[in-house]
Structure formats: C-alpha cells, structure tokens
C-alpha cells in the first residue's frame, strides 16, 4: 500500500512537473524563438589518425557449468591494451592467459581491457548448478478450524415461535457434533459460537429471547452428542441479523435457525 501510494505520489509529482514545464513553455512562446545554430563549416581541419582501440579477441569459461566445489577455466586473448583486469577477485591479467575459478554460486566474470585508443569488455558466466531439493515432508495441507466450520457446519432450522429441535435439525446437529469433535481434537484452543436467529415477524424484544432459546437448544443437543460444553458459547441475534430479507415463508425459514461460527 505504502509503496504504491509513494509511486502515485511520484507519478503525481512527475505530472505536476510536466504541467509546470508545459506552462513554462507556454509562457516562453511569447518571446521570439531563437534562430537555430548555423551548420558546421565545410572542410574542417583533418585530424591525425587515432591510435588503434583495445580489442578482446576471446574470453571463455570451460566448462561453463559446474557443481559447487568444482572449478572452471577462464581463457582470454587481448590486443592493443595496456591495462587489463577481470572482476570478482581475479584482478589484473596479461594479454594472454588462463585462470581457474571455483565460485560457489553462479557468477559472471567481466574482462575489461583499456588502451590509448579505447576500451573493450566482455563477460562470461560460470553457472553453478544446485542439486534438486528433497521431496516435501509428507503432510497434507490442513484447512483452518474456522474454514472447516464455515464450509461444513449445517444450520439447524426451527418452526415459527418454536425452539424445539425438529427431525431435520437433529440430522444437521448430529453432523455438526461429529465435525466439532474432530475440530476440537485437532485444535483444542478453538471455540465455537452458537448463534440463534429469528424471522422478522415477532417483536424484536420477544425474538431476542426466542433466539436465545434456539441457540441454547442447539448447544444442549451438541453437548448431549458429546461436544465439550466449555468450547461452546451461545449468542442471540433475535431478528437483527437476517440471512434473507424477503417477506416469504422460504426466506423466513432461512432466518429461523441456529448457526455455528468461530468463537472468540
């Protein structure tokens, strides 16, 4: 975020600078433009021929790929140079020569040759190939407890103005109990919130209490099915957090539910 905003700031700066230049240029247009410079005079003084430039005839590394601990030989041939060197710890060299190197990681060597007539440089790279990594440790990536809960827990649904566990809610909560036992075994510090919800038709005050009864009924069922009670906490949202907001029985049924969410 910060880097990108800095980038934006600098782009903005550039734009502003550009605008400034435009404005300045605009201002200058009022002054008469200076005439272009005259062409250079014909037949200028003939200079003496320059000395020949330094030339690197060859520069190789053999072999070009090694494994760590092995070495490679650098060979070179240079003409017209007075000052010749290779970087990466090799140093000054003669115009013909060779040198063994054993870099630990892939390294590029640059030969630089300077003479009175100019300079030349050339590079070779000695690749150091790494052995392939060992196979990964044998563990399958695990879903977080919260992900597991969100993806696999099922809501328990209720009848209007009721907190009894229906047959379909019994199935859902039996499934949830197995899931929770698995989660708490893997993740003993995890906790779960049992939320109670209501449809919009009752009063908010009555629904707060009704949602509490639904959450409690669901929690009691889970505890009966062997889920440790101290990992479960109830909360009633009454009708304050509907899943669905249409005035249809289908939608109201979706809202009359107990829902499991990750606890604090």
């Amino acid at each position: 975020m910060r880097a990108s905003s800095r980038l934006h700031a600098s782009m903005l700066g550039a734009l502003m600078l550009g605008a400034l230049v435009l404005i300045t240029a605009g201002c200058k247009k009022k002054v008469a433009a200076a005439p272009p410079p005259p062409p250079p005079p014909a037949g200028a003084t003939t200079a003496p021929p320059p000395p020949a430039a330094a030339v690197i005839n060859s520069f190789t590394a053999e072999p070009s790929t090694i494994e760590p601990g092995q070495s490679s030989t650098l060979r070179w041939s240079i003409s017209n140079a007075t000052d010749m060197s290779i970087d990466n710890g090799v140093g000054a060299v003669q115009s013909q020569g060779q040198q063994q190197v054993s870099p630990r990681t892939s390294t590029t060597y640059t030969l630089t040759a300077k003479g009175p007539g100019g300079m030349d440089s050339r590079s070779v790279t000695v690749e150091v190939s790494m052995p392939p990594p060992p196979p990964p440790a044998t563990s399958t990536p695990r879903l977080s407890s919260a992900d597991l809960l969100q993806q696999q827990a099922q809501d328990a649904y209720f009848d209007y103005d009721k907190s009894d566990i229906r047959a379909d809610a019994r199935d859902a909560l039996t499934h949830d109990a197995a899931l929770l036992k698995q989660i708490f075994q893997q993740d003993p510090n995890f906790s779960v919130l049992v939320e109670g919800h209501c449809d919009e038709r009752g009063s908010a005050e009555y629904n707060l209490a009704l949602g509490d009864r639904r959450a409690t009924a669901a929690k009691d069922f889970l505890v009966q099915a062997g889920v440790p009670a101290d990992h479960l906490k109830t909360i009633s949202y009454g009708k304050e957090r509907p899943q669905c907001t249409e005035a249809t029985e289908e939608c109201w049924q979706k809202n009359r539910r107990a829902h499991l969410s990750p606890g604090q």
Partner: protein, 470 residues
C-alpha cells in the same frame, strides 16, 4: 414533511361505542371540543421573513393537540385584528368584516376562541404580542383570556420557539400539558449501525446519542428524564477474532447483549453490572427512577423478568417460568402492577402481575401475537401492538382500559405498527410503522387520529417519549 392522516372516526364502527367513548374521554375530557380560529399572524419589518415558520408551528401545535377543533381558514372574515385596539363595534345596521367579536363567534366561522397578535423586532430579538379571546363575550376586555409578550432570537428557530410558547399557553387554558421540552428517544440505523437518537416531539432537532457501532436498541428513559437505559452488543477487541473477521457480516465480533445506562444530562455512561448471562436487556425504570426492570437469562432457564438497582446490583427475580418472559413495564402511578409479554400460553400475549410476581392474569384474548405494552401516564390504559385479525407480523396499535380489558384498535393494517409510547400529556402516542416502505416514527392522538410522520432518514424504530429532565 410528509403527513399521513387517518380518519379517526372509522374506529368507532367496528368496536363498541362504549369503549371508544371511554378511550376518547382520555383525549377529550369535556366531550365537545372547543373551536378556535387561528388566522396567520404578520410581522413588521425584519420579523416578517420568519412568519412562515411561525404560523406553521403555531397551527401545527394547536391542531395536533387533540384539545381544539380548528376552524377552517376559508371561513375566516376578510379583516383580522392584530391587537386589542383594532376591535371596533360596528354602528347599528352596519356590516363588520372581522374587527368585531361577533364576526368570529357567528357563522360562518362559529368560533369559540380567536388567537391573534403580531411580531416585530426589538433590540435585535423577535418579539411576539399574542392574545387569546373568547369571542362569545360581549366586549373585548371581557373576552381576553390571554395577553402576553414573548421574546426569541431573530431567526427561524426563534420564531418557532415563540410560536411553541404561545401555543403552549393557549393549550394550558384547555387543560393540556405542553409537549415543549419533551424528547422522543428512538433507534435509527442511518449511520449504518443501530444507535440511539433523540428528537423533539415534532421531529425537529434529531440528534445521535450513542456511537457504539454495534446493535444498540430498546431505549427506556427514567420518569425524571435524567437517565436512559438500553441494550447493546459489546464490540470485542478485533485481534481476538481476527480469524473469523474475513467471513464478513455473519461474524461481527460482537459479544452477548448487555444493558447500558447513561446520564441524559452529561451523556456519560454510568456503571451497570450485568448478570453473567447469555442475554441481559433493559425494559423500564421504576417510578422512583432508581430501579430498573430487565429481562435476563441469569437463571440459565431462558429470559425471565428481574428488578435491579440502577447499577445492576440487588437482583430480584419476579417471574419463574419455563416460557419466555419479556418487556416488563411498571404502572407509573402505582409502581405496583407490571404488564409484560409472556409466551406461557403458546403465543406471546400481554399479562399483568403484582410487582412481586403474584396474581398473574392475561389481559389480551389469546388471539395472534400481543407485544410492546406501554402504560399511559394516568396508569389506567396501555397501548400495545397486536396482530389480532391479521397475519403473524402484521401488528397494529391498540389501546386497552386495563381495569375493564376493553380495547380499541388505533391503526388499521397500514404496514407493521409497533412500539407505542405515550407522551407525557397522556393524549399523544408515538409509534413506529413500515407503512411507507421503511421503518419510520409517527405520532398520533390516542384515538388514532392526527397521524404525523417524524422521521425520514434510514430505518427508525423503538420510540420512547420522555419528559424533560426534572
């Protein structure tokens, strides 16, 4: 402001005229309402620019009072007195155009009373000279009931303020308590969260009171007007819930609902020790303003009714049942009877009991869902929301005489109508309704007439009408 007017007269048809007369007696103790003419007042000089606001306010406060019958303006004579000196008895056989008492008391206006006056600017303030005459008297001096000077700031707010004071003084002549200074506390989601707000009785001056950024609801105001209790889900520190945060609205990092008490004078939160329970909800203050009625799952057996001190200590259990017991409201006159909502009979119904939980009796018939009871200031009536005659969820506002259990229906199927609360004058009721699509707050007279919409922004609900701090 959009106004929706219901025809109050239709209530009578379906229900016993006896009950209606009984309820109507609360609103209009004299039976026949006095008629009043209120011609627009004019202002001299700089004052005139604020007279639109002035006249609207004066007419509004008088017409919605339930105490007076307004004479239609089209029936007024052409000339209007601005001060007592303007009255001129016409010579015998001469026609008068409004500057004599009989021009107003006789037909077509046939008024009993005339409110008149004018405004001007004095020392950079607006000054109102206001009179109320009983035009059935024979001379201007014997006709004068009220003659008073009012001062306000030289702006629209000042003009409204002097109009409200003049209206309050006029209404006082007819035994009506003024609503000036009363506030309506309510819940609004206009910030994106349900918070407590307040406004004047006419919907002006809407102000946010809480900023909990959670779900904050169920306001209750102490009878002395100094404290407010409500229920909110505490926002937990986000780090404790980081893993769940990415699942969006389903996991908002909220704790179990708890009771909060604030001072209305300083706005500050006061200490309240909540019970260790899955839910605690505030419901009502006792008449001494020092004790609270709440419903809580403190006993681990579903919501039951308790009384606590103002700081949550000294918990007394009042109900002890296997069913849902919520919304206890204490009789403000006796402090001894509680009405409440119970699911003990299967569906939510309104019951009464003694303050110690004895002598429980159902007040509603058992039909539909009956919720949201609210006592009238005289402790004789309750207003409540009932689905009787409608589908579940389609609440209408009813008023019941508690002693006889006779009731009348005040709203008739225009959306969901809920959470009635009485004004301190005992003749107005504020409630919420979704008749316009969203949930909004309305006032009406306790006979169902004079319906006025007070809010328009966001959803607004759970109004409670409070007295000014004493």
């Amino acid at each position: 402001m959009k106004r929706i007017i219901l025809i109050g007269g239709s209530i009578v048809v379906a229900l016993s005229t006896f009950v209606y007369a009984q309820i109507n007696g609360v609103i209009n103790k004299t039976g026949e309402k006095p008629t009043i003419a209120v011609p627009d007042l004019r202002g001299s000089g700089q004052a005139q620019q604020f007279m639109g606001a002035f006249n609207t306010t004066l007419y509004h406060d008088l017409s919605t009072s339930g105490q007076l019958k307004m004479v239609p303006k089209t029936l007024y004579p052409t000339q209007v007195p601005q001060q007592p000196n303007d009255f001129r008895q016409p010579a015998a056989g001469q026609q008068s155009q409004g500057l004599w008492l009989t021009d107003w008391s006789g037909p077509p206006p046939s008024a009993n009373y005339l409110a008149f006056g004018y405004t001007a600017v004095q020392n950079n303030q607006i000054v109102l000279y206001g009179w109320l005459y009983d035009v059935r008297q024979s001379t201007p001096s014997s006709a004068q009931i009220l003659g008073k000077v009012y001062l306000g700031s030289l702006d629209e707010a000042g003009a409204r303020s002097v109009a409200q004071q003049f209206a309050a003084d006029i209404l006082k002549q007819f035994g009506a308590a003024s609503l000036i200074g009363t506030r309506i506390y309510f819940v609004s989601d206009r910030t994106g969260h349900k918070e407590i707000w307040s406004m004047n009785y006419d919907g002006s001056d809407q102000k946010q009171f809480t900023n909990y950024r959670s779900i904050t609801t169920f306001p209750a105001v102490s009878p002395d007007g100094t404290k407010i209790a409500f229920t909110s889900y505490p926002v937990l520190p986000s780090s404790r819930y980081a893993e769940a945060a990415r699942f969006g609205v389903q996991n908002e990092n909220l704790g179990q609902p708890r009771i909060y008490v604030h001072s209305l004078e300083s706005g500050r939160k006061l200490v309240y020790y909540n019970q260790h329970a899955s839910m605690n909800a505030a419901s009502d203050f006792m008449p001494d303003s020092r004790h609270l009625l709440i419903y809580s799952t403190a006993n681990g057996n579903g919501a039951q009714i308790y009384e606590t001190d103002l700081d949550g200590s000294d918990l007394h259990r009042i109900t002890n049942s296997q069913s849902i017991e919520v919304e206890p409201k204490v009789n403000p006159k006796t402090g001894m009877d509680i009405v409440f909502v119970s699911g003990r009979g299967g569906t939510p119904q309104i019951y009464r009991m003694n303050i110690d939980g004895t002598d429980v009796a159902r007040l509603t018939t058992g039909e539909g869902d009956a919720v949201n009871p609210a006592w009238s200031p005289d402790g004789e009536h309750i207003a409540f929301a009932w689905t009787r005659g409608y589908e579940p969820g389609n609440f209408n506002i009813f008023v019941m005489d508690v002693a006889s259990r006779n009731y009348v229906q005040l709203t008739h199927g225009a959306g969901r109508n809920e959470n009635p609360s009485w004004a301190p004058d005992g003749i107005h009721i504020v409630f919420s309704s979704n008749r316009s699509g969203r949930e909004q707050i309305y006032t009406m007279l306790a006979d169902g007439s004079q319906v006025q919409q007070l809010t328009t922004q966001g959803n607004n609900e759970k109004p409670v009408w409070s007295k000014p701090p004493q």
